[in-house]
């Protein structure tokens, strides 16, 4: 194998690739835009929805309101509730005309005033988000009422309120602010970056193989003095570069987007500061190298087998699912790395990336996963190389 020939092929494929609009979109534009759009879109949607929910007036039915004139009058002035008349509250709840119904027991407030206990029933539909929220608001209302009643009663008996809480529990979050920021990122980033590394390399892989077959340029290349090994290497390196560029761009975009939205979290007083240790980023890219190699050669092999662009796309779409599902383990709480899992491709990378982003460096696992993924990638590259030598694959009719 001549490295100069590989370089010639690689440089030409890169030039060709960078002139392809589809590749540029999937390799650079989508990774840049996806995260900001997704994050800002989602967070502003959530803010809007919460605001709407807070302002919304909940129609409710009150049964036995005469038993609790004070609470009833409070409900009447409360802007988040509107008391309506319905003969059958169950039907009204089912038809979503009301969000909840209340039933005060007989002599509710009289019993309370006498120092007794009384009952109020809330009817709601837990499968309806609006009803669920209305019941929560009613809950809070009664808790506040109960609190005031208790305080009143204690006052009469001359007992201090602290009597009720002999044990004071104080919780302090000792996680460094970086870890809090990393926690959110550690869930999303491994999954996202692994998918993006694949989708970014998808068009180039198809274009360089099935695309060449379809356009009839593959044979032109095959009759040149370049050997099959040199052709495979050049093409592989080009697809690998695309995969790596997509990973870098998407990581950058995600980190920047996340620091933007975490800054907003801090305004809200949640105290998550977004910052990632540069060492984590370095290890992330180190681990992404064998993964991108693996992804690139699998993409190349599958699309080389296809006769046309369309056929290649139909082979690669299922592959996306094969990657998405295992990569999702980074979302699962309590799914930790183990020596066995360190050998399962994709799952191992996803889990170790999550750990690394959280600032935990298990060097043994990092080394093991780097090594095992490198071995899988080498096998995949070897298969790709063999496929390039098979005329049944190159000239499939």
């Amino acid at each position: 194998m001549n490295f100069n020939t590989i370089k010639i092929i690689y440089l030409k494929e890169m030039k060709d690739m960078l002139r392809d609009r589809r590749t540029l979109v999937s390799m650079i534009l989508i990774p840049i835009l996806l995260f900001p759009v997704l994050m800002f879109g989602m967070s502003s949607l959530m803010v809007k929805m919460t605001k709407q929910a807070a302002e919304r007036v909940n129609p409710i039915v009150v049964l036995g309101g005469d038993n609790a004139p004070f609470l009833f009058s409070q409900l009447q002035v409360d802007k988040s509730f509107e008391i309506v008349q319905e003969s059958d509250y169950r039907a009204a709840l089912k038809d979503k005309r009301i969000t909840a119904a209340l039933e005060f027991s007989r002599d509710f407030e009289k019993k309370i005033a006498a120092g007794d206990s009384a009952q109020v029933e809330i009817y709601y539909d837990a499968a309806e988000i609006r009803s669920e929220m209305a019941s929560g608001k009613l809950d809070n209302l009664f808790k506040a009422y109960q609190d005031s009643v208790v305080t009143e009663r204690l006052k009469i008996k001359n007992v201090d309120r602290s009597m009720l809480h002999p044990v004071k529990v104080d919780k302090e979050n000792l996680a460094p602010k970086e870890k809090m920021g990393g926690f959110f990122l550690a869930m999303f980033l491994p999954y996202m970056i692994m998918i993006m590394a694949l989708t970014g390399a998808m068009y180039p892989a198809i274009d360089l193989t099935a695309g060449e077959k379809e356009r009839g340029t593959l044979e032109t290349l095959l009759v040149s003095p370049a050997s099959r090994g040199e052709i495979t290497s050049g093409k592989f390196l080009a697809v690998f570069t695309a995969s790596l560029i997509t990973s870098i761009v998407s990581t950058g975009s995600m980190v920047i987007t996340a620091s933007g939205s975490f800054a907003r979290f801090e305004e809200m007083g949640r105290g998550a500061v977004f910052s990632i240790n540069p060492l984590s980023i370095l290890i992330l890219f180190l681990l992404m190298i064998p993964y991108c190699c693996l992804a690139s050669s699998v993409l190349l092999s599958l699309s080389l087998f296809a006769k046309s662009y369309k056929e290649a796309q139909s082979y690669l779409s299922p592959l996306l699912i094969v990657i998405i599902l295992p990569a999702m383990v980074s979302f699962l709480p309590g799914f930790e790395l183990s020596p066995k899992l360190a050998f399962i491709p994709i799952i191992n990378t996803s889990l170790v990336l999550k750990e690394v982003l959280l600032g935990t460096y298990h060097w043994g696992f990092i080394g093991l996963i780097f090594l095992s993924t490198t071995i899988y990638a080498s096998i995949a590259i070897f298969i790709t190389r063999r496929l390039f030598e098979k005329e049944q694959v190159l000239f499939r009719t």
Partner: protein
């Protein structure tokens, strides 16, 4: 020169079973000669040429190109031939100049000789006006010119041209015929396939008739006339093929 020795190629097709595309072909094409390969569609012309260009591997037999064996020295073989067929298209996103330079580099030419040689070829084929235009913006005649330039950028001694005039207009076809004649004058060995009889009649020093993978007859036009007893090449061809083929 090209020398094939009992060259055979069999394909396995799931539906049709074994297909003998090339059967025991032994041919010799000399430098300074134009060798025509005549056959119907599917006769085995393209497969034979793909074997010679080492894109396909023979099932049995071998061939020598300028003394290099297609089985053991495929890379040497490829650097000694210029191969052109309807299946060797060009990269649409590269310019004419980039295309020619790319194949020059793959053939091991140095940058300064690439410049010199491509200047020469762009002038020769009158392609200077679209030198920096992308391939996907060129007409089919222009593309064929770029293809020719790509084929001979490394000045190969052997040209293998698979139906080079297929689907081209009269002017472009004429250019290609002129190009083949010129190559002969430069003492190159030209193997070209066609199913256009008058093209073969005008150009070829030697003709081989191929049918169902087998060579039915080979020789100069005179020799073929004598052995078959007919004058026109199309009559000779129909007679030869008709003996084994039911129309």
């Amino acid at each position: 020169m090209i020398k094939t020795i009992n060259l055979s190629k069999t394909f396995l097709d799931k539906k049709r079973g074994e297909i003998k595309a090339v059967v025991n072909v032994s041919l010799e094409c000399q430098p300074g000669k134009i060798f025509g390969l005549l056959g119907l569609n599917g006769a085995g012309k393209t497969t034979l040429m793909r074997l010679l260009s080492t894109v396909l591997k023979p099932t049995s037999g071998t061939a020598k190109i300028n003394g290099f064996d297609i089985l053991t020295q495929p890379e040497k073989v490829r650097s000694n031939i210029g191969f052109l067929s309807s299946d060797t298209a060009l990269y649409p996103r590269l310019s004419a100049q980039e295309t020619v330079a790319y194949f020059a580099r793959l053939n091991g030419l140095e940058e300064d000789s690439i410049q010199k040689r491509s200047d020469e070829l762009f002038r020769l084929f009158n392609m200077e006006s679209f030198r920096d235009r992308r391939i996907d913006k060129l007409s089919s005649g222009m593309k064929q010119k770029v293809s020719l330039a790509r084929t001979i950028i490394h000045d190969p001694q052997i040209l293998i041209l698979d139906e080079p005039t297929l689907g081209l207009d009269v002017i472009t076809s004429r250019n290609i015929i002129q190009f083949i004649r010129k190559a002969k004058d430069e003492n190159k060995c030209v193997l070209f396939s066609t199913h256009i009889m008058y093209e073969a009649e005008k150009l070829c020093d030697e003709i081989a008739v191929i049918h169902q993978g087998k060579i039915l007859a080979v020789g100069t036009l005179e020799k073929l006339r004598d052995s078959v007893g007919l004058k026109n090449l199309d009559e000779i061809f129909v007679k030869l093929v008709g003996e084994v083929h039911e129309f």
